[in-house]
Subunit: 480 residues, 2 copies
Amino acid sequence: MAAVEAPQTVGRTPRVDAARLAVVVLVGAAIWLVPEPAGVQPRAWHLLAVFVAMMVGIVLRPLPMGAVAFVATAFAVLSGTLTIAEATAGFGNTVVWLVVAAFFIATAFVKTGLGTRIAYHFMRVLGKRSLGLAYGFIAADLVLAPAIPSNTARAGGVLYPVLRSLCVSLGSDVELGTERRIAAFLTFTAYQGVVVTSAMFLTAMAANPLVAELAGQQGVELSWPLWALAASVPGVLSLLLVPALIYRLYPPQITSTPTAPELARQRLAELGAMKRDEWILLAVFVCLLSLWILGGTLGISATTTALAGVAAMLATGALAWSDLLEERNGWDTLIWFAVLVMMASQLGELGLLAWFTDQVSGVLATGHWLPAFLSLSLIYFYVHYFFASNTAHVSAMYAPFLALALAVGTPPVLAALVLAFFSNLFASLTHYGTAAAPILFGSGNVDIGTWWRLGALISLVHIAIWLGAGSLWWRLLGLW
Amino acid sequence: MAAVEAPQTVGRTPRVDAARLAVVVLVGAAIWLVPEPAGVQPRAWHLLAVFVAMMVGIVLRPLPMGAVAFVATAFAVLSGTLTIAEATAGFGNTVVWLVVAAFFIATAFVKTGLGTRIAYHFMRVLGKRSLGLAYGFIAADLVLAPAIPSNTARAGGVLYPVLRSLCVSLGSDVELGTERRIAAFLTFTAYQGVVVTSAMFLTAMAANPLVAELAGQQGVELSWPLWALAASVPGVLSLLLVPALIYRLYPPQITSTPTAPELARQRLAELGAMKRDEWILLAVFVCLLSLWILGGTLGISATTTALAGVAAMLATGALAWSDLLEERNGWDTLIWFAVLVMMASQLGELGLLAWFTDQVSGVLATGHWLPAFLSLSLIYFYVHYFFASNTAHVSAMYAPFLALALAVGTPPVLAALVLAFFSNLFASLTHYGTAAAPILFGSGNVDIGTWWRLGALISLVHIAIWLGAGSLWWRLLGLW
């Protein structure tokens, strides 16, 4: 997911894991040196070598993801595989700037304090009981999700600080050995909530627009309103069921939290009345949501809306230019996102995806698409045990798996949506599955065994809900 | 020049100067509402309104330059003047990424300490006398200039800290009232040196590649080697003459500085042997210069070279990814540069520049080009009294003045070069003329009166050298 620094970049040395870098180079060199198969031009094959090496690099992380993408691009240009104009064209992609602009909007939620205020509001209303608190955090997360594409920012920047101060006030703290009172339950529920809310909006997770772009390259348009509408029913079901399930299987020791609403009220009193910048952000946020929903009808692209929202905040001073310049995650995302989109699009233009589809569609049995697609999507889901980032997984596997699904005859929108949603939901599995995971796991409130056991169980619930209720809902909507 | 924050962005409020913003909006609205002249399409006229308002905004700074550019772009798209794809295309421009990559290389010079080491080396060799010290700083500046497009980084990040510690050790400090011993002389010479070195390489000042891009849009290619070659003779003359002139008219009280080389030796001893990262940077730097010079012959673009240099430092760990993500000036430049290039190119494509040239070439007298061009270039130079940034001046005036110069019949390369070099040299005039100025002026070592008086005199020296010796040299090179 979005742009968390790998441990090796903290401090000045060591910044490069040489052994892993060697593996990356060897993989790339091996593919590069194999003669290209018939029907593939040499340049396409060389780009595939660079692309695969980059994917291995994104997974193994000899360097942070953005640096891997940067180095791969420089190599592709220097070796004559891409022209410099082709290589930099990705930075002009409109979807890239949708994501970057959304990062700037997320910054405003954190800097103005509106995100925290929203979290305290839900805590005040829903916080009398432990389960209510969990739903309160999830509700706050859901409200923020459409405008905060970094689940790290939602979980780490907004929810976790509120959650932590609440747990301490309730005497539940891992340092005192009392985390099972309530901290463990709330932490794990908040994490599983972020996983679902990330799946629910095109702009709720940094790799979602990448998914949309990759699907678009194969002819399936996933617009902002289509995504939100398709995710709404299964998303709400998951958000309702999963906390109840965790409450049953991993219950907090206290079920009643009468002091929590009072704490929230107190914190809101400390925050005082909504400040000017918060009102501006709120107005911008409402306009953003409206235009993202109605943009298709009005002919305003999602990127235009996002840029205009940021511009409105800059012009009114609700967001300072220096806040943007310091938004490291936004710049990081700019680089890796642009490179991935550019490489994927070049691979498509050089005919590699078409060649791949030709190859596999010849090999695949010509039975009904359903069992084939079920297998494909389950493999796509559970392979995530081997990934520490949604983005790495999406950029390595979304395009070929969608191509395979289409080749076996799956209805295109169904295939694109299932793989899109799974691109978020698979993060339920592990304590490193997406960038928000290490933050919440790092609290120490939840042990690994529980995380994995419950994560596996929750993955089954998600799959049942999204493939079952989801596909029915999409059928009702006439999407397939 | 590059990306120094306006004072209003320091701290959280006030971030916007509402009165100035109102002026910007009024200017834009006035042009927008005037009916377009015959021969201009409405869309071109509206874009001109946005562009002129943006220029006024860059000069008046109701917001930092990057924010002005961002807001102008959002408005252009939202108003239907540009499509979103046209608006973001500028971010894919190869020249934009040459500048951004060069900012990253500059970061490496500061972070590894190699820049400081080079400055001490020259101080050790040339530092026995005051005038020698001045030439030493200029030599260090000249060595760093090709790879550091931010004259702020050269003057403020590398030279000034060395200069300041030297002056303190020589007992010359504005706080003691002893700045005229040597600090005043060295500070002013270092500033005037940076002005000249900025003019000498395409990559020595952030707006130089913008100049090249704007010239390219009018059919004059200013490549890296052409720029360096053309600037070499007049540049060296300016660098030799100006310090001697300052030494004569604004002399330091001490002329002999026998302890300076010793101080430099001591500081170099403290730095120890060249570190691994410095060696890597040095190697990269040598490759960069070679490939920038030979790139045309080898078919490697300047951007490819710069990206490869950054990639080499990332892959070897000489530069950390986090160093790049924190390079605010680079990201700032990315935004304003891409927007300016995009708008200028759109104005060209919509036929506005051609229309403008048609209008003026009809009006202009049909005498010899020489007096007309002399007047144009002198106006271009001295209008800089009204600008606080090279970039603002270049982006507002370079393209129309070049168009005018071409319309009166000036040889194209001559016109493009003179205006290009003047785009740096005009910063000699004032204590706010380019981003490095406030840093050195802010030291308090030099009073405003001296700065302006000597600045005006030095401007005459530059004009004589660059128009006189320069044009002869370019004639010899067969450029006109």
